[in-house]
């Protein structure tokens, strides 16, 4: 569309390029010292009028928002909601007091948007719960995701970010604002509940 803007051609500063390379290669081990100043720089630049820089935040945090939504709303709604959430975040970016907390902030927006979605249509997830019970042990990805969605909120979001989006525990902690200990507990207890649920369902 002619009236839409593409952010692919945005030039990056050297620090952003370095952080992105570290993220993509999986060698990212100290996010507090590298990623936080980048977020602050980008948020400040966007608020000062460089709207194109917001595309970098979108690339960095779209997997997080996608995972948060995938744990709560139907799969075919997730992609559109991701776009809507980032546009909403761009409009409300001036209300973000701490630019380094962009990840927890947009994750909260995504959770609230998922709740609004379920208020509007209450017959989306519960229907899929019964369809996965009688399946054999050789399950598909969608069936396993449905099992994860039956877990409590804290566990299913962490498991989706870990298994679907491929984030490690420390990355989940940094991006969601949770403590590493909380994420670790959520992973372990969620994994235990998932095993129990899949085993009971398969039996």
């Amino acid at each position: 569309m002619s009236d839409e803007t593409d952010f692919k051609g945005v030039s990056m500063i050297e620090a952003e390029a370095t952080a992105e390379m570290l993220l993509m290669t999986g060698t990212f081990r100290s996010p507090q010292t590298i990623e936080e100043p980048i977020e602050q720089t980008i948020v400040r630049a966007v608020l000062e009028g460089e709207r194109d820089r917001f595309g970098r935040l979108y690339e960095m945090y779209a997997p997080l928002v996608h995972g948060v939504l995938l744990a709560r709303v139907p799969r075919d709604e997730v992609d559109d909601l991701v776009q809507d959430i980032f546009l909403h975040a761009l409009r409300k970016l001036h209300t973000l007091r701490n630019p380094m907390a962009f990840g927890p902030w947009i994750a909260m927006i995504a959770r609230n948007r998922a709740m609004d979605f379920h208020r509007a249509s209450r017959d989306m997830v519960e229907v899929e719960e019964n369809t996965a019970v009688a399946k054999p042990a050789n399950r598909t990805a969608h069936e396993v995701l449905d099992f994860i969605r039956q877990l409590p909120d804290t566990y299913r979001e962490t498991l989706v970010l870990r298994f679907v989006e491929g984030m490690t525990g420390p990355e989940i902690a940094v991006r969601t604002g949770l403590t590493p200990a909380s994420v670790r507990v959520n992973l372990h207890r969620g994994m235990k509940l998932l095993r129990e649920k899949m085993g009971v369902s398969a039996a």
Partner: protein, 187 residues
């Protein structure tokens, strides 16, 4: 027990890989986010952060401090003349020939000429005590010897007139005259 053995792999993919975790990663990895470009409408505007709020707070604090300073200064400047006015006139001050007036200068130890009263405008304004305070009693007029003699003459004349009027009134009413000089021997 299996969870404890493969704890690190579930946490950060280090240590011995857990087959079940790896299977979940492979299975659910197919649902991973597929990068898309963010389509932002060109008409959408980004509101800038309100940088004037801290400035407004700082300006308000500065104005309050300036106002408090001015208030303290004016309060102190008004307090000194009021205290002098409450003392009242100095009894040891020499007699003055000027009539009583509210425009009396606060310093009564040395009489000042009348033409100087209009000059110290600030001092006159300070003499006026607030209404809530005790009113200042005007000083008794101080007369000279000549003025006292004239005053005595006027009083004697008024007494004579009063006596004559009293006699005339009794005569007109037919009342017996009071012989005010009966005890005096005439001639």
């Amino acid at each position: 027990m299996i969870m404890n053995m493969n704890d690190n792999y579930l946490w950060d993919r280090t240590g011995e890989p857990d087959a079940e975790v790896q299977q979940l990663e492979d299975l659910l990895g197919s649902l991973r986010y597929q990068p898309r470009t963010l389509q932002i409408p060109p008409t959408m505007s980004v509101r800038r952060r309100r940088a004037f709020i801290p400035l407004a707070i700082a300006a308000a604090i500065a104005l309050l401090m300036i106002g408090a300073g001015l208030w303290v200064r004016f309060a102190n400047s008004n307090r000194r003349p009021v205290l002098q006015a409450e003392r009242g006139p100095d009894p040891t001050a020499p007699a003055r020939t000027l009539p009583p007036s509210n425009d009396q200068p606060t310093s009564s130890t040395t009489p000042e000429p009348r033409e100087n009263f209009s000059a110290p405008r600030k001092a006159n304004r300070g003499v006026m005590a607030p209404k809530s305070r005790r009113p200042i009693q005007p000083a008794e007029p101080v007369l000279t010897a000549e003025e006292l003699a004239q005053k005595e003459q006027v009083i004697v004349a008024l007494r004579l007139v009063s006596v004559k009027l009293n006699l005339a009134q009794r005569k007109a009413q037919g009342l017996p005259q009071i012989n005010s000089i009966r005890n005096h021997k005439i001639g």
